[in-house]
Symmetry: C2
Subunit: 162 residues, 2 copies
Protein backbone atom coordinates (compact mmCIF):
# COMPACT_ATOMS: atom_id res chain seq x y z
CA UNK A 1 0.00 0.00 0.00
CA UNK A 2 1.20 3.47 -0.89
CA UNK A 3 1.90 5.87 1.97
CA UNK A 4 -0.32 8.95 2.20
CA UNK A 5 1.09 12.42 2.87
CA UNK A 6 -0.91 15.35 4.22
CA UNK A 7 0.01 18.99 4.70
CA UNK A 8 -1.46 20.35 7.97
CA UNK A 9 -4.16 22.98 7.34
CA UNK A 10 -3.35 24.84 10.53
CA UNK A 11 -2.29 24.69 14.15
CA UNK A 12 -4.43 24.15 17.25
CA UNK A 13 -3.70 26.50 20.16
CA UNK A 14 -4.76 25.48 23.66
CA UNK A 15 -3.89 26.12 27.32
CA UNK A 16 -2.23 22.68 27.50
CA UNK A 17 1.51 22.99 26.94
CA UNK A 18 2.03 19.44 28.23
CA UNK A 19 0.01 16.25 27.80
CA UNK A 20 0.34 15.32 31.49
CA UNK A 21 -2.79 16.35 33.40
CA UNK A 22 -4.90 16.99 30.30
CA UNK A 23 -8.51 15.85 29.99
CA UNK A 24 -8.57 12.64 27.94
CA UNK A 25 -11.61 13.50 25.82
CA UNK A 26 -13.31 16.67 24.63
CA UNK A 27 -16.42 15.81 26.70
CA UNK A 28 -14.18 16.20 29.77
CA UNK A 29 -12.81 19.58 28.64
CA UNK A 30 -16.05 21.56 28.88
CA UNK A 31 -15.34 25.26 28.48
CA UNK A 32 -11.60 24.93 27.85
CA UNK A 33 -10.93 27.57 25.20
CA UNK A 34 -8.54 27.30 22.28
CA UNK A 35 -7.95 28.64 18.80
CA UNK A 36 -7.45 27.22 15.34
CA UNK A 37 -4.90 29.18 13.34
CA UNK A 38 -5.74 28.30 9.76
CA UNK A 39 -3.11 28.45 7.02
CA UNK A 40 -3.71 31.83 5.28
CA UNK A 41 -4.08 30.18 1.85
CA UNK A 42 -7.10 28.20 3.13
CA UNK A 43 -9.08 31.11 4.58
CA UNK A 44 -11.74 30.73 1.84
CA UNK A 45 -12.53 27.23 3.09
CA UNK A 46 -14.39 28.36 6.21
CA UNK A 47 -17.18 30.27 4.45
CA UNK A 48 -20.50 29.53 6.28
CA UNK A 49 -18.75 27.59 9.07
CA UNK A 50 -20.15 30.08 11.63
CA UNK A 51 -23.54 28.38 11.19
CA UNK A 52 -22.37 25.31 13.09
CA UNK A 53 -22.20 25.00 16.87
CA UNK A 54 -19.85 22.00 16.78
CA UNK A 55 -16.97 20.89 14.56
CA UNK A 56 -15.12 17.59 14.28
CA UNK A 57 -11.38 18.18 14.26
CA UNK A 58 -9.00 15.60 12.80
CA UNK A 59 -5.43 16.13 13.89
CA UNK A 60 -1.97 14.61 14.09
CA UNK A 61 -0.98 13.37 17.57
CA UNK A 62 2.53 14.73 17.12
CA UNK A 63 3.72 13.96 20.66
CA UNK A 64 2.82 10.26 20.52
CA UNK A 65 6.03 8.25 20.41
CA UNK A 66 6.14 4.81 18.85
CA UNK A 67 3.40 2.26 18.24
CA UNK A 68 1.98 -0.38 20.54
CA UNK A 69 -0.55 -2.92 19.30
CA UNK A 70 -1.80 -3.51 22.83
CA UNK A 71 -2.10 -0.73 25.37
CA UNK A 72 -3.48 -0.14 28.83
CA UNK A 73 -5.71 2.90 28.19
CA UNK A 74 -6.22 5.72 30.69
CA UNK A 75 -9.71 4.43 31.50
CA UNK A 76 -8.83 0.81 32.28
CA UNK A 77 -6.24 -1.31 34.07
CA UNK A 78 -6.18 -4.05 31.43
CA UNK A 79 -4.56 -4.11 28.00
CA UNK A 80 -6.68 -3.96 24.85
CA UNK A 81 -5.85 -3.92 21.15
CA UNK A 82 -4.97 -0.37 20.09
CA UNK A 83 -7.94 -0.27 17.65
CA UNK A 84 -10.28 -1.09 20.55
CA UNK A 85 -9.00 2.01 22.39
CA UNK A 86 -8.69 5.75 21.77
CA UNK A 87 -5.07 5.81 22.98
CA UNK A 88 -2.50 7.83 21.01
CA UNK A 89 0.14 5.14 20.29
CA UNK A 90 -1.66 4.11 17.12
CA UNK A 91 0.00 2.93 13.90
CA UNK A 92 -1.20 6.26 12.46
CA UNK A 93 -1.44 8.73 15.37
CA UNK A 94 -4.63 10.49 14.28
CA UNK A 95 -6.87 12.14 16.86
CA UNK A 96 -10.50 13.26 16.54
CA UNK A 97 -12.37 15.64 18.82
CA UNK A 98 -15.77 17.29 18.59
CA UNK A 99 -15.35 20.88 19.81
CA UNK A 100 -17.69 23.82 20.18
CA UNK A 101 -17.27 26.70 17.72
CA UNK A 102 -17.61 30.01 19.60
CA UNK A 103 -16.34 32.54 17.08
CA UNK A 104 -14.85 33.16 13.67
CA UNK A 105 -12.18 35.78 13.11
CA UNK A 106 -9.91 36.56 10.17
CA UNK A 107 -8.15 33.22 9.58
CA UNK A 108 -8.93 31.98 13.09
CA UNK A 109 -11.60 29.87 14.68
CA UNK A 110 -12.35 30.26 18.38
CA UNK A 111 -13.24 26.92 19.96
CA UNK A 112 -14.15 25.39 23.33
CA UNK A 113 -14.08 21.89 24.87
CA UNK A 114 -10.48 21.50 23.72
CA UNK A 115 -8.71 18.30 24.86
CA UNK A 116 -5.78 18.91 22.51
CA UNK A 117 -2.21 19.92 23.35
CA UNK A 118 -0.98 23.34 22.20
CA UNK A 119 0.77 23.30 18.82
CA UNK A 120 -1.00 20.23 17.45
CA UNK A 121 -1.03 20.07 13.62
CA UNK A 122 -4.61 20.13 12.31
CA UNK A 123 -5.44 17.94 9.29
CA UNK A 124 -9.14 18.55 8.66
CA UNK A 125 -12.29 20.26 9.97
CA UNK A 126 -15.76 18.84 9.36
CA UNK A 127 -19.12 20.24 10.44
CA UNK A 128 -20.64 18.05 13.16
CA UNK A 129 -24.21 17.00 12.34
CA UNK A 130 -25.91 14.58 14.76
CA UNK A 131 -28.17 13.10 12.05
CA UNK A 132 -25.01 12.01 10.22
CA UNK A 133 -22.59 11.36 13.07
CA UNK A 134 -24.57 9.81 15.93
CA UNK A 135 -25.52 6.15 16.32
CA UNK A 136 -27.52 3.97 18.68
CA UNK A 137 -25.02 1.40 19.91
CA UNK A 138 -25.76 -2.07 21.21
CA UNK A 139 -22.35 -2.58 22.79
CA UNK A 140 -19.47 -0.32 23.87
CA UNK A 141 -17.02 -3.10 24.81
CA UNK A 142 -14.69 -2.49 27.74
CA UNK A 143 -15.91 1.14 28.05
CA UNK A 144 -19.12 -0.21 29.67
CA UNK A 145 -19.14 0.83 33.32
CA UNK A 146 -15.92 2.82 32.82
CA UNK A 147 -16.77 5.66 30.44
CA UNK A 148 -18.55 7.54 33.23
CA UNK A 149 -15.09 8.15 34.71
CA UNK A 150 -13.96 10.15 31.66
CA UNK A 151 -14.68 13.38 33.53
CA UNK A 152 -12.30 12.64 36.40
CA UNK A 153 -9.39 10.83 34.72
CA UNK A 154 -6.48 12.90 33.43
CA UNK A 155 -3.68 11.98 31.04
CA UNK A 156 -0.20 10.94 32.14
CA UNK A 157 2.95 10.53 30.07
CA UNK A 158 2.57 6.83 29.23
CA UNK A 159 2.10 7.48 25.50
CA UNK A 160 5.03 9.87 25.22
CA UNK A 161 7.58 7.22 26.19
CA UNK A 162 9.11 5.52 23.15
Amino acid sequence: MQPVTYQPIGIIRSPYVDVVGMPIQAVAARGVAGTIELAPSLAGGIKDIEGFSHLTLIYHLHLSKGVELEVVPFMDLKAHGIFATRSPKRPNPIGISVVRLTGVEEGRLLIEDVDIVDGTPLLDIKPYVPAIDDRQTDRIGWFAGRVERVQEIRADDRFQQP
Copy 2:
Protein backbone atom coordinates in the same frame (compact mmCIF):
# COMPACT_ATOMS: atom_id res chain seq x y z
CA MET B 1 4.45 23.17 8.93
CA GLN B 2 5.93 19.75 8.35
CA PRO B 3 3.98 17.33 6.17
CA VAL B 4 2.66 14.17 7.87
CA THR B 5 2.96 10.73 6.28
CA TYR B 6 0.80 7.74 7.17
CA GLN B 7 0.99 4.13 6.08
CA PRO B 8 -2.51 2.66 5.51
CA ILE B 9 -3.41 0.00 8.07
CA GLY B 10 -5.58 -1.90 5.62
CA ILE B 11 -8.03 -1.76 2.75
CA ILE B 12 -11.80 -1.32 2.85
CA ARG B 13 -13.77 -3.68 0.60
CA SER B 14 -17.31 -2.75 -0.42
CA PRO B 15 -19.86 -3.43 -3.16
CA TYR B 16 -19.20 0.06 -4.59
CA VAL B 17 -16.66 -0.15 -7.41
CA ASP B 18 -17.54 3.39 -8.50
CA VAL B 19 -18.39 6.54 -6.57
CA VAL B 20 -21.32 7.42 -8.84
CA GLY B 21 -24.60 6.29 -7.29
CA MET B 22 -23.13 5.63 -3.83
CA PRO B 23 -24.87 6.69 -0.62
CA ILE B 24 -23.27 9.92 0.58
CA GLN B 25 -23.15 9.03 4.27
CA ALA B 26 -23.02 5.83 6.32
CA VAL B 27 -26.47 6.59 7.78
CA ALA B 28 -27.80 6.21 4.23
CA ALA B 29 -26.02 2.88 3.66
CA ARG B 30 -27.95 0.83 6.22
CA GLY B 31 -27.15 -2.86 5.79
CA VAL B 32 -24.57 -2.41 3.01
CA ALA B 33 -21.91 -5.02 3.87
CA GLY B 34 -18.17 -4.64 3.48
CA THR B 35 -14.91 -5.92 4.88
CA ILE B 36 -11.78 -4.43 6.37
CA GLU B 37 -8.65 -6.30 5.31
CA LEU B 38 -6.16 -5.39 7.99
CA ALA B 39 -2.42 -5.45 7.31
CA PRO B 40 -1.21 -8.81 8.71
CA SER B 41 1.42 -7.13 10.91
CA LEU B 42 -1.36 -5.24 12.77
CA ALA B 43 -3.58 -8.24 13.58
CA GLY B 44 -2.77 -7.87 17.29
CA GLY B 45 -4.33 -4.42 17.33
CA ILE B 46 -7.93 -5.63 17.16
CA LYS B 47 -7.95 -7.59 20.44
CA ASP B 48 -11.31 -6.97 22.21
CA ILE B 49 -12.73 -5.02 19.26
CA GLU B 50 -15.57 -7.57 18.98
CA GLY B 51 -17.11 -5.96 22.09
CA PHE B 52 -18.13 -2.88 20.10
CA SER B 53 -21.22 -2.62 17.90
CA HIS B 54 -19.92 0.44 16.01
CA LEU B 55 -16.51 1.67 14.85
CA THR B 56 -15.34 5.01 13.50
CA LEU B 57 -13.25 4.51 10.37
CA ILE B 58 -10.80 7.18 9.23
CA TYR B 59 -9.73 6.71 5.63
CA HIS B 60 -8.05 8.32 2.65
CA LEU B 61 -10.44 9.53 -0.06
CA HIS B 62 -8.10 8.28 -2.77
CA LEU B 63 -10.44 9.02 -5.70
CA SER B 64 -10.90 12.70 -4.82
CA LYS B 65 -9.10 14.79 -7.41
CA GLY B 66 -7.82 18.26 -6.61
CA VAL B 67 -8.86 20.75 -3.95
CA GLU B 68 -11.65 23.32 -4.00
CA LEU B 69 -12.06 25.80 -1.17
CA GLU B 70 -15.72 26.31 -2.04
CA VAL B 71 -17.92 23.48 -3.22
CA VAL B 72 -21.56 22.80 -3.97
CA PRO B 73 -22.16 19.73 -1.80
CA PHE B 74 -24.47 16.85 -2.80
CA MET B 75 -27.08 18.06 -0.30
CA ASP B 76 -27.35 21.68 -1.42
CA LEU B 77 -27.48 23.83 -4.54
CA LYS B 78 -25.31 26.60 -3.10
CA ALA B 79 -21.57 26.77 -2.57
CA HIS B 80 -20.08 26.60 0.93
CA GLY B 81 -16.54 26.64 2.27
CA ILE B 82 -15.08 23.13 2.07
CA PHE B 83 -14.67 22.99 5.88
CA ALA B 84 -18.39 23.71 6.27
CA THR B 85 -19.15 20.62 4.15
CA ARG B 86 -18.37 16.90 4.18
CA SER B 87 -17.39 16.92 0.49
CA PRO B 88 -14.27 14.99 -0.60
CA LYS B 89 -12.30 17.74 -2.40
CA ARG B 90 -10.67 18.78 0.87
CA PRO B 91 -7.10 20.05 1.26
CA ASN B 92 -6.46 16.70 3.02
CA PRO B 93 -8.97 14.20 1.59
CA ILE B 94 -9.76 12.36 4.83
CA GLY B 95 -13.11 10.61 5.27
CA ILE B 96 -14.80 9.42 8.46
CA SER B 97 -17.68 6.95 8.74
CA VAL B 98 -19.30 5.23 11.68
CA VAL B 99 -20.01 1.64 10.61
CA ARG B 100 -21.53 -1.37 12.33
CA LEU B 101 -19.18 -4.21 13.29
CA THR B 102 -20.84 -7.55 12.49
CA GLY B 103 -17.97 -10.01 12.78
CA VAL B 104 -14.28 -10.54 13.38
CA GLU B 105 -12.29 -13.10 11.42
CA GLU B 106 -8.57 -13.77 11.11
CA GLY B 107 -7.19 -10.39 10.02
CA ARG B 108 -10.59 -9.22 8.76
CA LEU B 109 -13.44 -7.18 10.17
CA LEU B 110 -16.93 -7.64 8.76
CA ILE B 111 -18.83 -4.35 8.69
CA GLU B 112 -22.19 -2.90 7.61
CA ASP B 113 -23.52 0.58 6.76
CA VAL B 114 -20.59 1.08 4.39
CA ASP B 115 -20.65 4.32 2.34
CA ILE B 116 -17.07 3.81 1.15
CA VAL B 117 -15.79 2.88 -2.30
CA ASP B 118 -14.06 -0.49 -2.75
CA GLY B 119 -10.27 -0.35 -2.35
CA THR B 120 -10.17 2.69 -0.07
CA PRO B 121 -7.01 2.89 2.06
CA LEU B 122 -7.86 2.76 5.77
CA LEU B 123 -5.85 4.97 8.14
CA ASP B 124 -7.35 4.28 11.56
CA ILE B 125 -10.11 2.47 13.46
CA LYS B 126 -11.54 3.81 16.71
CA PRO B 127 -14.25 2.29 18.90
CA TYR B 128 -17.42 4.43 18.72
CA VAL B 129 -18.72 5.38 22.16
CA PRO B 130 -21.74 7.73 22.31
CA ALA B 131 -20.74 9.19 25.70
CA ILE B 132 -17.51 10.38 24.07
CA ASP B 133 -18.59 11.05 20.49
CA ASP B 134 -22.09 12.52 20.62
CA ARG B 135 -23.02 16.15 21.24
CA GLN B 136 -26.15 18.24 21.63
CA THR B 137 -25.87 20.85 18.90
CA ASP B 138 -27.46 24.29 18.85
CA ARG B 139 -26.92 24.86 15.14
CA ILE B 140 -26.18 22.66 12.12
CA GLY B 141 -25.69 25.46 9.59
CA TRP B 142 -26.86 24.88 6.03
CA PHE B 143 -27.69 21.23 6.82
CA ALA B 144 -30.83 22.47 8.64
CA GLY B 145 -33.86 21.37 6.65
CA ARG B 146 -31.65 19.48 4.20
CA VAL B 147 -30.03 16.65 6.16
CA GLU B 148 -33.30 14.70 6.09
CA ARG B 149 -32.63 14.15 2.38
CA VAL B 150 -29.40 12.23 3.08
CA GLN B 151 -31.28 8.94 2.61
CA GLU B 152 -32.40 9.71 -0.93
CA ILE B 153 -29.44 11.61 -2.42
CA ARG B 154 -26.71 9.63 -4.16
CA ALA B 155 -23.21 10.66 -5.20
CA ASP B 156 -22.25 11.76 -8.67
CA ASP B 157 -18.80 12.30 -10.18
CA ARG B 158 -18.40 15.99 -9.35
CA PHE B 159 -15.51 15.39 -6.94
CA GLN B 160 -13.61 13.06 -9.25
CA GLN B 161 -13.09 15.76 -11.88
CA PRO B 162 -9.75 17.55 -11.48
